[in-house]
Amino acid sequence: MELVFALAIGALTAGGVYLLLRARTFPVVLGLTMLSYGVNLFLFASGRLATGSQPVLGTAAQYADPLPQALVLTAIVIGFAMTAFVVVLSLRNLADHGDDHVDGDPKKRTPTSKHARERRPL
């Protein structure tokens, strides 16, 4: 079990990092999701892997560590919200620039100062 678990975490993280480095918003969002799955599994494993034991005190002789499970739950909730936000932001980026590159429209791509100089209302 340990080996499979470790391989799963490794594969998810490696895939996530690879996709993150693609410069298109869809792979980036997918990469963030995979990375957060890998992280959640890692966090789950930090309380040791055990089969057949419950994370509740007093119900069995052996119990699993409940704290990492609580942490993972929080992390999953936050991760979902963040992924939803990135998806919306990517769509907005696509609508604004007509291109799904993370730097916006490649034809209009300009250095930092250009963006700062463009006039916006107060």
């Binding site: 992280v39 890692f42 963040m82 700062a116 916006r120």
Partner: protein, 505 residues
């Protein structure tokens, strides 16, 4: 157990929820409610500052769960100081925002108050995982705030900012998992007890976790290899948001000050002063990078965003050296630089709105209205930011310089800070003289007048550095007591180990 500890969290929380419900109410009503919430948060922070002044630790155990198991809020001098800093900055930025920036979307006030709440939780919490949750609360609010306002120019920097911070959050979780898997606890005081006992192969896991945590805090603080996201993201935000974000890099610095002297400090056995020998050269490199950025800035906004990077380097260098005097000096400079940079962001918005299409570019343009007022405010801000004598930036830097003792570190720190200040001064005088003095013939159409409210909030934020000079004695006494309290970790550990809830109470 005093219930006041929760006030800086609950007040903005209730205010933010209220803002959601009154989303369709008339704007003046919403603005009044929002400002009242900000003002009450500041009042609560000042009450806590008075409480923390007696050098005792106050602990609030959520739901009466005993410390190593439940979530605790801890109030000490550092937390109280950061709360007052945040709340005062927030109130003044909020006042500026109701001058017109909050129009357009209905969510501005609730997002602003949610971010204030997230910051307050981060400063009060005594638990590593709760710190992560606080980071997420303040970050998700900051994503919304960054995107606030019209214009398509900010969706791309916003996306970069969000993706980068999400990767940072993942790293935070990994480091928390690594530390938990060995020590079995995430309470900071409990970690301070358990980390020195870790030995053998397990030490490397905790060490790796600790270093990864440092990377996360360094990302939030924008330390050199992780600094390049900052200028573009901050330069694209609206003025009050950018000014309020001046505290965001300080959250990363706060994380380092809070976690490292306590958990990986001098008493941590084999892991004593983990990562601090890396931090010192990186801090100096950040400082140099910031100076290069300031020198190369073509707009006033990028000038000030790079000033933020300079302040991060200046703050982290004495912190990495770990002396009590250095820490005290850094805390003094932290107050000064946060207010000044926040004020400069607001001021630039005022200048920009006067200059038509020239905006905040450092180029010649027709003379602006209210030139005397705005240029003198810029003068004060620049003097404080560059660290020239009469204002608080100078005292902060002087104390940082005085705190070093050993030869090599002293040479590096003195050389970098002094040369950096010199070049910063050149950059500010160049920008100021071009923008305010070198005017061309003509008039600017559609320049918006500076209302008293906008001028007042900007002036108050920049004027903080004058106030800090007047009150330099009490403030530096407070920061040195804070540094002493931070480095003497026994009190913190003892407070969290003592049973805090009497049965039946």
């Amino acid at each position: 157990m005093t219930h006041w500890l929760l006030a800086p969290i609950l007040i903005p929380l209730l205010g933010a929820i209220l803002q959601i419900f009154v989303g369709y109410a008339p704007m003046p009503l919403r603005r009044v409610l929002a400002i009242i919430t900000s003002a009450l948060t500041l009042a609560a922070a000042i009450v806590l500052l008075n409480l923390a002044g007696d050098d005792t630790y106050r602990v609030y155990a959520m739901g009466n769960w005993q410390p190593p198991f439940g979530i605790v809020m801890v109030l000490d001098r550092l937390a109280a100081m950061m709360l007052v800093l945040t709340a005062s900055l927030a109130l003044l930025c909020h006042l500026f925002a109701i001058g017109g920036t909050d129009e357009g979307t209905r969510q501005f006030h609730s997002l602003f108050l949610f971010q204030l709440m997230g910051l307050n939780i981060a400063f009060l919490t005594g638990d590593l995982f709760n710190l992560f949750v606080a980071f997420e609360i303040l970050l998700i609010a900051s994503y919304g705030l960054l995107m606030h306002g019209s214009g398509s120019t900010r969706s791309t920097p916003g996306l970069h900012y969000v993706v980068l911070n999400l990767v940072g959050s993942s790293l935070f979780l990994i480091s928390v998992g690594m530390i938990y898997s060995v020590t079995g606890t995430l309470n900071m005081a409990d970690l301070a007890v358990k980390v020195p006992l870790v030995s053998g192969d397990q030490r490397f896991l905790v060490e790796a976790g600790g270093m990864l945590l440092l990377v996360v805090f360094a990302l939030k603080a924008a330390v050199l290899p992780l600094t390049f996201w900052l200028p573009r993201a901050y330069a694209s935000a609206t003025a009050p948001v950018a000014a309020f974000f001046a505290i965001m890099t300080k959250v990363g610095i706060y994380g380092i000050i809070r976690v490292y002297p306590l958990v990986f400090g001098a008493n941590a056995g084999e892991m004593a002063n983990l990562g601090m020998n890396w931090l010192f050269p990186l801090a100096l490199a950040t400082l140099i990078m910031g100076v290069i950025g300031v020198m190369g800035a073509q707009t006033l906004r990028t000038l000030v965003t790079w000033q933020l990077v300079i302040s991060v380097g200046t703050l982290l260098a004495p912190i990495a050296l770990g002396s009590q005097k250095g820490l005290a000096a850094a805390l003094f400079y932290l107050l000064s630089t946060t207010w000044t940079v926040g004020g400069l962001f607001l001021l630039i918005e005022l200048v920009r709105s006067q200059r038509g299409s020239a905006s905040d570019k450092i180029v010649m343009a027709p003379q602006i209205r209210h030139r005397t007022l705005l240029s003198s405010l810029f003068f004060f801000g620049a003097v404080s930011a560059a660290g020239l004598p009469p204002l608080s930036g100078f005292f902060g830097k002087l104390m940082i310089l005085q705190s070093t003792t050993s030869g090599v570190e002293m040479a590096w720190l003195w050389g970098t800070i002094l040369t950096g200040s010199f070049f910063t001064l050149i950059a500010y005088s160049r920008a100021g003289s071009v923008v305010f003095w070198r005017n061309i013939e003509g008039e600017i159409k559609n320049s918006t007048p500076v209302t008293p409210l906008l001028a007042l909030s900007t002036g108050a934020l920049i004027g903080m550095s004058v106030l800090m000079v007047a009150l330099a004695g009490p403030i530096s006494a407070y920061t040195s007591a804070t540094a002493a309290q931070l480095l003497d970790t026994r009190g913190y550990i003892q407070t969290l180990q003592a049973p805090m809830v009497e049965e039946g109470s």
